[in-house]
Symmetry: C2
Subunit: 188 residues, 2 copies
């Protein structure tokens, strides 16, 4: 069970990175195979449903990774406002220091496929809901009322995704920095 997952894992990890960088349609299976070093014959053995299955599991892996990052961010401060603000600031700082460019998680694939591929769209939706859940729980712990906490979880998700996308497109972390700056007003 441990060694036999090796090729499979390499494929998923490489696919996650490339899908995030170049999108679903912009990334070919041959490219993924070549970069992962996995043998071509094993792709359809591990992923009988081909590219679609690979994308669904890649999105799930990416979502899990991001969710953990958010969770760690929330654990750093007891106050929800501070925690969220610091988390976004961290994203902004990491934005250009990270020399390995990495695209916007989930969103790139989501926008391409939401109208044409239901399993992939669903995986993206589940990912986003898991992010929102972490924010909402943090707000609940800080005393926000349940309905309000759920709503704000969605709004925070929106502003982070939008600011990330803008920062990515503009090549500047300013949108992320301004999002962080204006979080307190939003959560008042």
């Amino acid at each position: 069970m441990s060694t036999k997952e090796s090729s499979r894992d390499k494929l998923i990890k490489t696919a996650s990175r490339l899908f995030q960088l170049q999108g679903y349609h912009g990334t070919g299976l041959n490219h993924i195979l070549k970069e992962s070093g996995a043998p071509k014959g094993s792709l359809y053995y591990h992923f009988p449903n081909g590219k679609e299955q690979l994308a669904v599991e890649s999105v799930q892996l990416t979502a899990e990774f991001v969710r953990n990052q958010i969770q760690r961010g929330m654990d750093k401060k007891t106050d929800a406002i501070e925690a969220i603000q610091e988390f976004i600031k961290g994203m902004a700082e990491q934005f250009h220091t990270d020399d390995s460019q990495q695209g916007v998680p989930i969103a790139t694939v989501a926008l391409e496929t939401a109208l044409t591929n239901e399993p992939i769209r669903e995986a993206c939706q589940n990912g986003y809901e898991s992010f929102q859940q972490v924010f909402t729980e943090k707000l609940l712990q800080s005393g926000y009322e349940e309905r309000r906490a759920r709503e704000l979880g969605i709004v925070i998700n929106s502003i982070i995704e939008g600011a990330f996308m803008l920062s990515f497109t503009m090549g500047s972390n300013e949108p992320l920095l301004l999002a962080a700056k204006n979080i307190p007003a939003l959560l008042k």
Copy 2:
């Protein structure tokens, strides 16, 4: 000048729609040619730089259209907060009544190409800056200080883009509605 632009215009309009729906890599030139009804031979006559040029001009056309929509929204109310709030509500209402699904403008192409195609990325950036400019001007007219108005223009852009993308992915207009609801807190 009027009839000779016909094929060109059809190509750009069709390309704008398809790129928005399926992304840059997910949309083939043959598909665009077929849907537009334009003759294949004329594509490289009107767009010597091929697909890239078609994408750049498509993004510009989409950006101009969206910018005008925003501008019309801002003109509907004198108060900036009300105007922006109503504009987002309008997006939310239009979200599912519009039977012709249409994707998220600019963002889909931007995320796919920002790291790999500079001319297209630049066109997307210019589009986003033109949106922000409209919000900023509205805030200036409502008495916000210049620096603050510019910052809030970016933040509003972020939250709208993020909420739109989430609504699109989730298949629900809730993120847009919640964005609208929380705009006043942000602009206080």
